[in-house]
């Protein structure tokens, strides 16, 4: 079988820190007249206080509602009216804000991010409006559809004990409605310190000119240090945990299983074999579990294995998991799927992974890694998180090589740890209703 050499990217990563503690990464790429700007704050769902589930996400919405020199709606209008697009997203361990712009709007994007880093307009009116919008978001994504929040909201409470890891990150309506402007001000003061943030710019700019612009706009942001980040670790499971619930809108069963994996930041070398294992198991028609469950047994109609509850292997901190999710046919059996998956994991653990199989899996992973960061915006976001969590944005260039260096023995050893007694399982049972 033909195999190919792993290609290398050489995206630059110029790093510096402003006097106020803001960390900056610049990655020039003059190949297209666009820039990607990302600001990542080191606070996410795991840091929200008890009684305030969903607050990190609600706060993300409030960051778009105006700031000292920007009235409500101005942020959107300035970004889009300059030819750009914007968004933000809340993750377990961080919250990101970003724009992709034609490169002639770079300074505008920096101004917009700096203005809200100094403080968003936290008013009662904005808060109530955005609580309403967030409730509609939850209805669209969770309540009004089958398999809403599956498994990212459904598996953590089975797998974890402590509030930060186990709670519903979208939030309960009661908690959202209880949120106050004072809560928001306190949250901002504590977590949205510039010492707790990373700014990344990638794309069509000159490094010296961009450095001057970053100084000009962010240099005067008040210096506040990063809060101490708690250790959210929990003991591993020693006995299998299972939960099931009825999804009134679902016509067919769906299951997810999760196993704890090594700390992705503290021990990347131990973690990467799990990332490769997930692809050996479910990437494409030649993968182990697709062949076994979907094609041979027909015990599942779809199966996917991935790292991290939100599906990104390289943005999660400890504790995190390898997840396996399967959609079952009518009358499908959870036990049949789990037993077959156990057998396939055993085969990887004891029978190994042939060299050609490992080579093809890592070749395809390379394509995915390169493709995912072809966009200047995705590159900015990835580099910002790598800087924030590891102080190593240049790891972006190294990942394809690191993935291809994972050995068959390491993948087998990873598979050997995914035992039934270490897993948490959640089942969405069909309620049958339309």
């Amino acid at each position: 079988m033909k195999t190919v050499k792993v290609p290398v990217t050489r995206y630059p990563a110029e790093r510096f820190t402003l006097d106020n503690g803001l960390r900056v990464v610049l990655s020039p790429d003059r190949s297209a007249p666009v820039v990607g700007v990302a600001v990542v704050y080191d606070v996410g769902i795991r840091s929200e206080p008890e009684g305030r589930t969903g607050f990190a996400h609600l706060f993300e919405h409030l960051m778009f509602q105006g700031s000292a020199n920007l009235e409500k709606l101005a942020h959107f209008r300035h970004v889009q009216g300059s030819g750009g697009s914007f968004n933000g997203s809340t993750h377990l361990d961080y919250t990101d804000y970003f724009e992709i712009m034609p490169s002639n709007a770079l300074e505008r994007a920096l101004f917009l991010e700096a203005d809200r880093m100094r403080g968003p307009a936290l008013t009662e009116e904005n808060l109530r409006n955005q609580v309403d919008v967030v409730k509609e978001e939850i209805r669209v994504n969770v309540l009004n559809r089958p398999y809403g929040g599956f498994p990212w909201l459904k598996l953590p409470p089975v797998m974890f004990e402590t509030f930060p890891n186990a709670h519903d990150g979208y939030g309960s309506f009661v908690d959202l409605e209880s949120a106050t402007v004072d809560d928001a001000a306190e949250f901002f003061h504590r977590y949205y310190a510039c010492g707790n943030a990373v700014l990344t710019v990638s794309g069509d700019f000159d490094v010296a000119a961009c450095t001057a612009l970053v100084e000009r706009h962010f240099g005067s942001v008040e210096a506040r240090p990063a809060p101490e980040r708690p250790d959210f670790d929990e003991p591993d499971l020693t006995a299998e945990r299972r939960a099931a619930y009825t999804d009134a809108l679902a016509p067919l069963p769906m299951i997810a299983a999760g196993w704890r994996v090594p700390d992705p930041v503290a021990d990347l070398a131990a973690y990467l074999p799990y990332v490769v294992l997930a692809e050996v198991l479910t990437d494409g028609d030649a993968s182990r579990l697709v062949r076994r469950l979907v094609q041979d047994d027909r015990s599942a109609t779809q199966v996917g294995a991935y790292l991290g509850f939100m599906g990104d292997p390289f943005d999660a901190r400890n504790p995190t998991a390898l997840l396996m999710q399967a959609g079952l046919p009518p009358g499908g059996s959870t036990d049949a799927v789990l037993t077959a998956a156990d057998e396939e994991l055993d085969r990887v653990a004891t029978g190994g992974v042939p060299a050609d199989e490992l080579a093809r899996v890592s070749a395809r992973m390379c394509t995915h890694l390169l493709r995912d960061t072809d966009s200047v915006l995705q590159r900015s976001l990835r580099m910002a998180v790598l800087e924030q969590q590891r102080g190593a944005p240049e790891l972006l260039n190294a990942l394809p090589g690191l993935v291809s260096e994972v050995t068959a023995e390491q993948v087998s050893a990873a598979a050997a740890t995914l035992r039934p007694q270490r897993r948490a399982v959640v089942e969405a049972m069909p309620g049958g209703a339309r």
Binding site: E137, D204, Q295, T367
Partner: protein, 438 residues
């Protein structure tokens, strides 16, 4: 010192049309190669005319296309592709069968050879076809519980009546009746190069890429079936259709409005009019019903182009209790767009947005491949970006107002609301003629 004023924009960036080459092969396949070497990958898109292909069979064919050839099993095929970092998928719409894939640039020849093998020699093994058919049927049953799917299906039926665009997704029972023999027959008849086009975008030299495609796919032969879909009918005059979804916590609003295709002289003005109304976040409709009223999370008005015609589609999921007020604001904003010209600053904002969005789309291989493919399906080439950009830049306020009056008039809207009918009917009936779905 803190900057308190919005910085001015720099000089507008120049639009660069990437290096392109094109060749029509003797088989009738048109090949378009575009250079964007930012990462060592290649994006591949193949579109084959599939107008009037039987819907259920065409849908299963797309799912089962890569399940094996006379030379290779599904697993062997997937493994050979994966070995060069490659992967393919296929899907089907009323106009086209589309195959999409990508690979490491160094694996392009192998990937093209495997694509040829599938096109010329797909086997549709009975076991694999059954597996794919049952999977597809299960997925359709899941989709049929999703409001987004149900609302779109109801809108298309309402808008298109007996036209082929009225149904995009077959029923699960129809899918379960498809056999391997049906697929082999459909493949022989319709999976042919005549009228098809292949787009390759990425780390390639365009002329050389044409040679490589010809070497791999030149032997793929077959005649066209020559089917065409008639132009879409004008919007029917019909009351707002209420579709019941008991227990729904939101209502799904869908309205269809007339539109013109990408080559039409009014296209740019219509795009701008739609943007000002509801086509992006900073539009009147979104600012009104989301940012002011909090009725909804993600309202959006988009222009959809098919080979047989175009339409504007408005979508919003709103809380059940504000369904009528949300419809009121929607009709108000449509009426305002159709009756009064946009403010100059609104127009400039929309113009900048769409010009920037084109540059952003062209900045990735996948985005560029999507644009080249969409254009090619309508007989246009990537240099149309320059023509379109000029039309956007020069559209006057009067032209945009005329387009808004023509394409956004609420009197020409055809719509449905999916939700808990008993709760939403009284409010909606006070605003508009309504009719319950049977």
């Amino acid at each position: 010192m803190t900057v308190t004023e919005l910085p001015a924009l720099g000089r507008p960036t120049k639009l660069k049309i990437p290096a392109t080459a094109e060749r029509r092969l003797r088989s009738g396949l048109t090949v378009i190669a575009v250079r964007r070497p930012a990462v060592p990958l290649v994006e591949i898109r193949l579109r084959i005319p599939f107008a009037r292909a039987p819907l259920a069979r065409a849908s299963v064919l797309a799912s089962a296309l890569f399940t094996g050839t006379s030379q290779r099993s599904a697993v062997e095929l997937a493994a050979a592709l994966q070995a060069v970092g490659g992967g393919f998928g296929a899907d089907h719409d009323p106009d086209w069968l589309t195959v999409s894939g990508n690979c490491l640039a160094s694996g392009l020849d192998t990937t093209l050879e495997l694509l040829h093998e599938v096109l010329a020699d797909a086997a549709y093994p009975a076991h694999e076809v059954t597996t794919e058919r049952e999977r597809l049927a299960d997925h359709i049953e899941i989709a049929e519980t999703q409001p987004g799917h149900l609302a779109r299906a109801a809108l298309l039926r309402r808008r298109f009546g007996g036209h082929p665009y009225a149904v995009e997704v077959p029923g699960a029972a129809q899918v379960r009746a498809v056999g391997a023999g049906h697929l082999r027959g459909l493949h022989a008849l319709r999976v042919t190069p005549r009228g098809a086009y292949l787009v390759v975008v990425g780390d390639i030299r365009p002329e050389q890429a044409l040679d490589r495609v010809e070497a791999a796919l030149g032997r793929w032969r077959g005649e066209a079936a020559g089917k065409a879909i008639p132009a879409i009918p004008g919007p029917p005059e019909a009351p707002l259709l209420l579709v019941d979804r008991p227990g729904a916590v939101q209502s799904s609003l869908r309205l269809a409005l007339p539109a013109v295709g990408r080559s039409h002289p009014e296209h740019a003005a219509m795009q701008l009019a739609n943007l000002v109304f509801g086509g992006y976040f900073s539009s009147r409709w979104v600012e009104n019903i989301r940012e002011d009223k909090g009725y909804t999370y993600s309202p959006f008005a988009s222009v959809e182009h098919g080979a047989a015609g175009s339409m504007i589609v408005l979508s919003a999921e709103v809380a059940t209790e504000v369904t009528a007020p949300a419809m009121l604001e929607t009709m108000y904003e449509l009426g305002r767009a159709a009756s009064l010209p946009a403010e100059p600053h609104e127009l400039e904002q929309a113009r900048n947005y769409v010009l920037g969005a084109l540059r952003i789309q062209m900045s990735t291989q996948a985005g560029l491949a999507g644009l080249v493919t969409a254009y090619a399906g309508l007989g246009l080439r990537i240099d149309h970006v320059a023509t379109y950009s000029e039309a956007l830049a020069s559209a006057t306020r009067e032209q945009v107002a005329e387009a808004a009056a023509r394409y956004l008039a609420p009197s020409r809207a055809v719509g449905i609301v999916l939700g808990e009918v008993a709760r939403i009917e009284p409010g909606l009936a006070a605003l508009l003629p309504v009719e319950r779905a049977a």
